[in-house]
Amino acid sequence: MIRFFKKKRYPEFWSTHIEKVQNSQKYANFEDIRFVALDTETTGFDYENDRILCIGAVAIKNNKILVSDSFEIYIKQAIFNKETVKIHGIRKDGNEIKLSEEEAIIKFIDYLDDAVIVAHHTAFDVTMINQALNRLNVGPLESKLLDTNYIHKKIAKTDTYKKIFSLEELCEIYNVKMHDRHTALGDALITAYLFLKQTAKYKKNNPLNLFDLINTNYHLLK
């Protein structure tokens, strides 16, 4: 009964999101899980005041990166930070087709479906998305989350408890070529490669299942 009321209050895209994640039958079997490697480019690192410029994502299923199932979207900006333009190269009035934040977020949630999110420093990207969702009076994301940084910590033999690995460091360790750094979809692809290589390594010493992988991520679990 309570759910019924909740459903009524939420916009359709959001209730669909909740329902899909909660009712997904895929998580038990690793081969069936659709992972979405994700990266966002933002105007800065302030959760309150900065905004998402671009979301890039590509799906992984059964150890394959599905290029046909990828996502790249640019968002119109009210807030603009000259400093970060140097990093991501997305100008306020660049050539990319840009959507409003609302349109973009709804499209992304729709694309996400019941997928498990994989990112590098996932907390940052997910918080930025949650902030945007909050502005639409919904959120936070219901999706299950993984972080390549923490999966690495689980695999690495040495004591890396306190170390935070950058994407570049992991690329070095896992021998991933870095193309298109600092474009959202480029970084998403790099994250996807890392994830494929990490899971291949991980399953040598551990049974590969989603819940153990999620448990590597003590930070996000908090």
Binding site: G56, V58, N63, K64, I65, L66, V67, S68, S70, E72, Y74, E96, I97, N175, K177, H179, D180, T183, L185, G186, L189, A192, Y193, L196, K197, A200
Partner: protein
């Protein structure tokens, strides 16, 4: 919608065949549907007998081993590296994989959806040609009929090109067209036409063509009495004229003539009927263009007075070869033309020598070409290999006759040397007393080689059994051939020895980066294309032809004959013929580029497409060698 990943994949794929052959839009569609896969070292990508995947693969990073289990023994077939394709079997037929693939090192693959590629094969003949060149010659079970169809159906597309070679040649036309003004009378025009022996005249105003009168107009308009010979040409001319620009190819001319149902084209400065007339092209000119240059050279050879002139003509023939290869005219045709020219040169050298001696030959004789010239496969200027046979002579006359022919041969080989055919270092020439002998001596010689097949004699028989009559008595030549086949029939074990030698040169497995991948694990970076690829195919064709009493020498013709004699193996022989064509073309282009005999190929200088092309030829060699091994039971022959 912008997509950074597929753009990057697009950039990668467009560097490699066959993806460089398709349009940007189609390639973008392919790029958007790639599946990226990662494999750890030694991880299996697919196993032998696995169900076919929905994708075939191109290696993005790393390398992949292809292997096959035969009676529990694992055979390494190839190592593929960046840009190589594999797993194409499902593209060709819906069958399980006949080989396994595993990662040779950490590897990233792009999976290309097969469903997408079926359409591409249909729409891009060049893609299917590439795939045929790479894989049609690559079939693992060449002895089966079932491979016919589908992708292979496109072979006919290639064959079509073979017959249409002249269409890309530029058309020759008359650059001094005869014209007259509009107020000329029909009578005057007819007088001009008769005087110049032409069947048409163009009517011009300020050098701009406005009309044409042909024989047909005279017949239908004057002969019928509709007009009189006193009328002006402008009254009976056909106007406007059909025009074309100066760079006209045979194909364009043919199409234009057919389209406008005319027999004459006016060639003008800019191709329109608003500019100056510069020439006239007739149906007749087109007929002459086809096969023009070679026949001209043959004519020049016939008129040549000395070896120097022949040398000059042979240089022109080399230019002709270059031109043919640049125009991608099929190698089979090129070899035919060049062999005809070489034969004509040798004939002329013999005639010149006979007249130098000043005495007609004292007996019937035949001049024989051996080796590659005997097989009519000689495209580059290589060593001369020849021999002479004369009719059986009474002992009393023998020395006198032999001395005449030795003198003749001395003069002929000297002339051929001047032309540019180097003396044979092994002295396999008609000027050598050993190879300038009578018919019965040849028969004894053959018998000795066949009945006592020690290595040196087998090597000689390989060279001599490809003899071809160049000049002289056909009967002598036929009798020699008969004696070879008869003696072999009585000594079939000889074929097993010959087979053994044939197998001495197994082809390499393939290329890995700048190295050859050899069966025994040895790597090399320069490739002896003659001994390792061409000769094995030539040898295989010879032994199978001797086995079947097939009396042709040309390797391609031999395989074609073998396809008829053994229809159950026609796939194998077809793949051999295709591989041979590719290799010969390759050797010739390399030789022309480096101005040498093209024997060695520097693998570092090859691009990916060339490497794939070469590699595709190795599989048929291996297959035909397997067939020989089984058929002639070569394993029973002791090591020699």
């Amino acid at each position: 919608m912008k997509n950074t990943i597929s753009e990057r994949i697009f950039d990668f794929l467009k560097n490699y065949p066959p993806f460089n052959l398709i349009s940007n839009e189609t390639l973008m569609e392919v790029s958007q549907n790639v599946e990226i896969q990662y494999f750890e070292k030694d991880q299996i990508i697919f196993s032998q007998n696995d169900n076919p995947h929905e994708h075939f693969y191109i290696i993005y990073q790393g390398s992949v081993r292809l292997y096959r289990f035969v009676e529990n023994e694992k055979l390494m077939l190839d190592i593929c590296d960046e840009g190589d394709l594999f797993g194409l079997r499902p593209l060709i037929m819906n069958e399980n994989y006949v080989m396994g693939a595993s990662a040779n090192e950490e590897t990233i693959l792009y999976g290309i959806p097969i469903a997408l590629f079926h359409d591409i094969i249909l729409n891009y003949p060049k893609v299917s040609q590439f795939l045929i060149a790479s894989f049609a010659t690559n079939t693992r079970e060449p002895f089966s009929e079932k491979h016919k169809g589908k992708l292979f159906a496109n072979v006919s597309a290639i064959q079509k090109i073979e017959h249409g070679f002249s269409e890309i040649q530029s058309a020759n036309y008359n650059k001094n067209p005869i014209s007259c003004s509009p107020d000329t009378t029909v009578q005057t025009a007819c007088i001009i036409m008769t005087k110049n022996i032409i069947n048409s005249i163009i009517i011009t105003e300020n050098d701009i063509p406005i009309g044409i009168i042909t024989d047909k107009d005279i017949k239908t308009k004057i002969g019928t009495g509709l007009y009189k010979i006193t009328h002006k040409v402008s009254e009976i001319m056909t106007s406007p004229v059909v025009t074309f620009h100066q760079n006209i190819s045979v194909a364009e001319a043919q199409i234009k003539l057919l389209k406008h149902k005319v027999s004459h084209l006016c060639i003008t400065k800019d191709g329109t009927n608003k500019t100056e007339l510069v020439g006239i092209l007739t149906q007749q000119d087109l007929i002459l263009t086809q096969g023009n240059s070679p026949s001209l050279l043959i004519k020049e050879i016939k008129n040549a007075k000395d070896a120097e002139t022949l040398k000059h003509i042979r240089t022109k023939a080399t230019e002709l070869t270059k031109g043919y290869l640049e125009q991608e005219i099929p190698i089979y045709f090129v070899t035919k033309v060049i062999s005809e020219i070489n034969t004509a040169i040798t004939k002329k050298a013999i005639r010149l020598s006979v007249s130098e001696i000043g005495k007609e030959p004292p007996a019937k004789f035949s001049w024989l070409a051996l080796g590659s010239q005997g097989r009519k496969e000689q495209l580059l200027m290589t060593d001369q290999d020849n021999a002479l046979v004369f009719e059986n002579i009474a002992p009393a006359e023998y020395n006198r006759v032999k001395n005449y022919f030795l003198e003749l041969a001395e003069k002929v080989t000297e002339k051929l040397h001047i032309v540019g055919f180097e003396y044979c270092p092994a002295n396999i020439m008609a000027s050598n007393p050993k190879w300038c002998i009578s018919l019965e001596e040849w028969e004894q010689q053959f018998e000795e080689w066949i009945t006592d097949p020690i290595p040196e004699k087998i090597l000689l028989s390989i060279i001599f059994f490809d003899f071809e009559l160049i000049y002289g008595d056909e009967l002598l030549n036929n009798k020699m051939a008969e004696s070879v086949f008869k003696t072999i029939e009585k000594n079939l074990i000889f074929l097993s020895f010959l087979g053994k030698v044939t197998l001495d040169n197994p082809p390499p497995l393939g290329f890995f980066k700048q190295f050859l991948v050899e069966d025994n694990g040895e790597n090399k970076d320069s490739f002896d294309i003659k001994s390792r690829a061409i000769r094995p195919l030539v040898d295989a064709a010879r032994i199978l032809s001797l086995h079947h009493n097939i009396r042709v020498n040309n390797t391609i013709a031999r395989y074609e004959k073998l396809m008829e004699v053994e229809p159950q193996n026609s796939d194998l022989f077809e793949s051999c013929a295709n591989a041979f064509k590719i290799l010969l073309q390759f050797r010739t282009s390399q030789g022309l580029a480096n101005n040498d005999n093209g024997k060695f190929v520097d693998i570092n200088s090859l691009n990916k497409a060339d490497r794939l092309k070469l590699k595709s030829c190795f599989k048929p060699i291996k297959n035909v060698q397997e067939a020989i091994k089984l058929r002639f039971k070569t394993s029973q022959i002791p090591q020699i």
